[in-house]
Each structure stands twice: as C-alpha cells, then as structure tokens.
C-alpha cells in the first residue's frame, strides 16, 4: 500500500487510443523520487535515439512528486518532460497551480503520453475513467478561452493543461499553460500540438495516505513557521512577488539590457515598486503560503484593460530591460498575450530584444518587420511583434523559430544572439555573474537559470558571499545546486520553498509522508538528484550533445560590459568547466565515467 505516492502511472497512446494504468515500480520511486526523475527514467529507457521531437515517437511525461498534493508547504508543483523541439535535447519544465495535486487525487503519480492523434483531442481523466474526447470545438482557441470553456463544460474543479495557437502551429517557443501558470520553456507546447492534444483535463476524488501522520504534521508546521519567518518567503515575495530582486539585480550590474549589450538604461529602470503599482491581488499555488503570484491590471493608457497573473521578474526583464523598454503596462500586455497564445515569455522577449538589436544596426528594416518600427523601447511595436509570433503570421513565422535560427538567417546577425544550446538566456548577465555563466553553460536544457542559481551564493549569502567575479568555488556551487534543484523538481516542492528550507528540514517530510526509510537521509536524497542529473546527461549525449555545446556565445568572452558596476567584465568558462566536469566525475570531454555511473547505480539497471 503506497504512502505519499498514488502508486499508479497512467499510460496513454494517442495513436492507438490505448489507455492503461501501470503499477509504480518501487525501485524507480526510491531511486528517482518523482517529477523530473520519473521523466528522465521513462524517456531515457523508452525514447528512440534521434527521434524527431515533433513526431509521434516523442513522448510527454507529466509527473508529480511524492509531496505533490500533500499539506507540505509549496508542494503543488509538477514537471512536464519531453524532447525539446527548441534544442533537440532534454526538456523538463516545472509549473505550479493545481494540476499536479488533482492528478494525484485521481490516483496517478504520472501521465505518460505517446503517439499522436489524427484529429484534435482532449485527454479526460476522472479517477479511473479515462477517455479521449474530440476537441475540434477548442482547437484554434487561446489558452484563456480554452480554460474557460473546458471549465464550463465540466466543472470549475476540473484542472487542465492546454496549448494555445502557438502550440497548435508547432512553434518551438510554445508553452503549455496550466491553470494560468506555465510549463514555459523549451517548446513542450509544440510537442502537444504535434500530437493534436489540445488539453489534458483531470478531476480526482481521492487523497494521499500518510505513513507517519504525527511526524509529518510536525514537520509541516515547522516548515510553515520557517517560511513565514524568513525575510524572502515571509515578507519579500508575498509583497512584491518574484520582482523583489529587480533593484538588487540592477544595483549589482547583473540585469542585462538591450539584448545583453549593456547593463543600464538611459532612463530609470523598472524596479519592484513600479511593478507593484499594478498589483490588484495575490494568488498562490496549491498549498503555498508564499503567494508570490500577483494579478496585475492596467487601468490607463493604450493598454487599458490588460491583465495577467504576473508579470513575473523574468518577463519584466524580457519585455522590459531586454527591449530597452520601461513601460510596465506594455509588459503586462505582452505577458498576457504570451499566456493566451501559449508562448514562453522569456524566449519571446529575448527574441524581440534580439530583433530590436538587428533593427538598430540596420540589419532589419520596416520592410522585414511587417512595418513595425522595432526600435529600442517601442512597447507598442513589441506587443505587435508578440502577436505576430503567437500567430506565426508574416515575419512572425521566422521569429517564432527562436534566436538561434534568426542569427543564422538574418544577414550580419551571426553572433548577436544570447542563447545556449538553442534556448534563449534569461535575465542575468553571465559576464556579471561568473557562477551564472557556468550555470548557463552546463544547464541540461540550454540557457536557463533554474538548473542552478549561484547568484544566491555570490551576493545574497550574508555569512560568506563568494562575490560575482571570482571563479573559485563556483563549480562546486553549480554542481551542488544542480543536484539539489533536480531533487526539488522531482519532489513536488517549489524551488522558492527550497531556497529557505534546508534539505535537513525537507527530508523528514519525504520520509514521514512516504514511509521510505532511505528518504530520511538528506545525503541520500541529494544523491538521487545527482543520479537524475547524470541520466539526463546520458540522454543528451545520446542525442548528440558534446562538450563543445557546454559553452556560452562567444560575444560574452570578447565583448566587455560597457557600463554599470560590472563595466569591463568578460567571461571565459573554460577553467570552471573543467573543474565542474571533474567534480561530476566526468571526463575532460564531459562524459560520465563508468565508475561514476556505478556509484549512482545507473549502469546496473541498464
């Protein structure tokens, strides 16, 4: 009898229509935890090498963790894993909201989708009643309409993840939207679109059993107290949301502006107070006291009526500083459009900033942009560009292929892109933060800040800050955080909770909920994170990744930051990378050694 886990995986083949509930393997639960771990264990063993991400061969794994749906704080999260159409490599995306808990209450730890339907379908899961429902009525609709219509047709307590027009049109920038939150990065929406799967709709009526209810309740109370009393989770994020770090990133010179050519703007940059003026109320993910989510609404000016659940720090950067734009209202509208079309706000904003860079250099003119004056800071043109990208309309068709494609196709633009492995970079300049440079270079899904976030150790660790510009201990921090974040993204917990809670506080939650004794050992849980990381590495190597890909665009080593607190800085990740490989037990060519894989129990099972 499973505790913490539901104990079943739902397998759905969209080609044949076969639907089957399969027992969860106790070995996989103990070694791979859930979430990202379940995703990589499934895809590593079952995805054919070199498969086209948009072919029926690719699979989608929606996976919860053992803590998902429990009273553990900030435990409403789930992972979506697949092979990315943006990078051709591993992709996992994490989202909060409500879908993960609902899937657990319906009796499943994970949902594995393979094949492709001929016609648009919904996958409807109501406990053990699972069916494929024609979805022609929903196809072509944006994600907000789709949510509304599906909830009208079923109930407000049915939870869903769906794609918008961008996913239907197979854009590699397409997200999957779930209860107004996003599995944003890497193009999972296009994979859903290629399978003609408009939405996954879930309603469950059960619950999760607890192994040691007294101990679990005690640890939940302790962690709630910790979150309430910590400055970040108890005050800063409830008040300002993720935007709380805006002025700190500006003050330290980390916040890139104008397609990473500068770190300042000629006008006052947007800070957290500027964004907060638009907040109407707080929203929280399931079981979360942090309530970092905000509803923002525009009440005057050309974007009157625009609203979004956000805008998040990353989109305030991507549609703000990255585009030389300081008009918060236009950012809210752009984020709203991304959510509606089902687009990744980080990548789309990065693309628009890149286009403005090209426009500024005369590499693009109004003849190439459908008439849009894509000048730095032109918020209205930016919003219009997002619409073209969402509909893949006119020049938006090429734009929706991402920065890597555009720098190869726009004459003279080669080398101007800010992307790693084909995924556009987020809101931290790798020349300013040397830790972030290594984090980007070694991230398993390309340019990403959520595989590790060494900035915390560089400038926010008050006891012993490492500093931004040294390279000492950065490989250690990146490696350890990657293992920890892998574990957290396999658990159902939110990273924001894990920034405050220690692993020694988290591991008793795992153990008392599931009754799995080995989970009480924090080191053992971290080892599971390392195991997951290494299996993802094997997956990526199998798909053709080499050490040559673990690098930043050349411009960051040759183009010094011209302004701000980090003026003159460049970055070379070479030395840090070799130390990192060594710490990982990998060869100088970035290959896991047999010895390392044996230590992690990976070879024995394959």
């Amino acid at each position: 009898m499973w505790k913490g886990y539901a104990g079943k995986i739902l397998e759905v083949d969209l080609s044949s229509g076969a639907i089957e509930g399969v027992d969860l393997d106790p070995y996989v639960a103990e070694k791979y935890i859930g979430g990202k771990g379940f995703g990589i264990h499934t895809l590593y063993h079952r995805l054919p090498r070199g498969c086209d991400p948009l072919s029926p061969e690719n699979m989608l794994v929606f996976a919860t963790g053992p803590l998902t749906g429990s009273a553990a704080p900030a435990s409403g999260r789930m992972e979506l894993c697949t092979k990315s159409p943006a990078t051709g490599l591993w992709l996992d995306s994490n989202a909060g909201g409500s879908l993960g808990p609902e899937l657990k209450y319906a009796g499943y730890d994970a949902l594995v989708i393979s094949g492709a339907s001929q016609t648009p379908v919904l996958l409807l899961i109501e406990d053990d009643q699972v069916s494929l429902v024609p979805a022609e009525d929903y196809w072509g609709r944006d994600t907000l309409e789709t949510h509304k219509k599906i909830k009208e047709a079923y109930s407000s307590d049915h939870r869903l993840a769906c794609i918008g027009q961008a996913g239907e049109l197979l854009s590699p920038l397409a997200s999957v939207q779930t209860e107004y939150r996003s599995f944003g990065r890497g193009g999972a929406g296009a994979v859903m679109g290629s399978k003609k799967l408009k939405a996954v709709v879930v309603h469950g009526s059960g619950g999760i059993k607890t192994a040691d209810k007294e101990e679990f309740s005690r640890m939940v109370r302790e962690s709630l107290n910790e979150l309430a009393n910590a400055p970040d989770t108890g005050a800063a994020k409830p008040e300002f949301g993720t935007n709380v770090i805006l002025s700190l990133m500006d003050y330290t010179g980390i916040h890139p502006t104008m397609n990473f050519h500068r770190s300042t703007l000629d006008t006052k940059p947007i800070d957290e107070h500027d964004v907060r003026r638009f907040y109407e109320k707080n929203r929280a993910c399931f079981s979360c006291t942090i309530r970092c989510s905000k509803i923002a609404r525009v009440e005057e000016g050309p974007f009157t009526g625009a609203f979004t659940e956000g805008p998040e720090y990353e989109t305030v950067w991507s549609f703000g500083a990255q585009c030389g734009n300081t008009d918060v209202a236009s950012i809210i509208e752009a984020e709203h459009l991304c959510d509606a079309y089902g687009l990744d706000g980080i990548s789309v904003g990065n693309v628009v900033g890149f286009l403005m860079d090209c426009f500024d250099r005369g590499l693009l003119t109004v003849n190439d942009t459908g008439g849009l004056e894509l000048r730095w800071g032109n918020g209205e043109a930016m919003v219009a560009a997002v619409k073209l990208i969402g509909r893949r309309d006119g020049p938006g068709e090429a734009w929706s292929r991402g920065v890597k494609y555009l720098e190869q196709t726009i004459p003279g633009a080669h080398g101007l892109g800010a992307q790693v492995k084909g995924l556009e970079l987020p809101a931290y300049d790798p020349r300013a933060s040397k830790g972030m440079a290594l984090a980007y270079a070694t991230s398993d899904r390309g340019g990403c800040h959520l595989r590790s976030w060494p900035i915390g150790e560089e400038i926010m660790n008050m006891a012993n800050p490492l500093g931004l510009h040294t390279i000492e201990f950065k490989p250690e921090v990146v490696k350890n955080q990657q293992d920890l974040f892998c574990l957290v993204n396999s658990s159902g917990l939110c990273l924001f909770a894990a920034f405050t809670l220690s692993l020694e506080q988290i591991s008793p939650l795992f153990a008392s909920l599931t009754g799995i004794a080995s989970f009480s050992d924090a080191e053992n849980l971290l080892l599971a994170g390392e195991r997951i990381n290494n299996l993802v590495r094997l997956f990526n190597l199998r798909e053709g990744l080499t050490a040559e890909d673990d690098r930043l665009p050349e411009r960051f080593s040759t183009e010094p930051l011209p302004d701000g607190p980090c003026q003159g800085e460049t970055v070379d990740t070479g030395a840090m990378l070799q130390t990192y490989y060594k710490l990982r037990g990998w060869t100088p060519g970035g290959l896991p050694t047999r010895e390392q894989l044996e230590k992690l129990d990976i070879l024995f099972e394959s």
């Binding site: 429990s70 929203r283 309530r291 509803i295 609203f307």
Partner: protein, 128 residues
C-alpha cells in the same frame, strides 16, 4: 461563526487541506473538505462553508431528521439516507458531499479548534 474576507483569499487551499486532515487524520486531500473555495480566476467566486445561520434550513429540509443543532450542525449517520436534500437547502453552499461515502459534510468547528482558520495565511477566513 466565521468572518470571510474573499478578497484576501489567494486560492492556496491550505484551509481545505487542514479541514481534511482534521476529520480524516493521515489523509492528504482537499476533496472531503467541509470548506470549499470556488475559483473564478482571476477572482475567487466564493468561500463556501457553514456560517451557522439562524434558520438552519439544512436541518429543516432533512426528511429523516438526521441533522440537528448542537452548537453546530450534527449529522446522525445511522439516520441519513444520502438523499442530499440538505445540499440545495443551504443558501451559501456550505454543505459538501464526501466523494467516497456520499454523506453530507458540514463544518463542525473542529470542536472549536477551527483548523481552517488556523491554516489560513492571509486572514481570508477568521473567527467571528
């Protein structure tokens, strides 16, 4: 019984988790909760829970006299026939249904401990 401030509610559902845990120790779920948050993103449509109204229409409507007032509404499971007449009788949607047993679920104040109130991080639900 409660003071409800809907605009404070973030839809975290910690109240529903706490309610379930209080009545079914060891079960992690929101489904058998006696308090329900009706979502209408980006707003909260309603926080539905027994408000101990004066007339007790749920008690009046019960054809079997299975419900009685003893400081809160009490259900006699042996008498209840699962007819569900109490559910539409409640003007605030404060009668829920247990998804597995089918019995009506009505707030019993957790013997005065008000688990939902203790769990709410924003004061959306408080004791009157």
């Amino acid at each position: 019984m409660f003071t409800i401030k809907k605009s404070n509610c973030t839809y975290c559902r910690l109240c529903m988790l706490a309610c379930t845990a209080a009545h079914e120790p060891g079960v992690q779920s929101v489904k058998p909760s006696r308090i329900h948050i009706e979502d209408d993103w980006p707003d909260i449509a309603a926080i539905q829970v027994c408000i101990a109204c004066k007339d007790h229409p749920c008690i009046q409507e019960c054809p079997e006299d299975a419900l009685s007032w003893q400081g809160h509404v009490v259900l006699d499971k042996d008498t209840c026939t699962l007819c569900n007449a109490c559910i539409p009788a409640c003007p605030v949607g404060g009668v829920r249904v247990h998804p597995e047993t089918g019995y009506p679920l009505i707030c019993d104040t957790c013997s005065g401990r008000f688990s939902c109130v203790q769990a709410c991080p924003t004061g959306a639900i408080a004791r009157r």
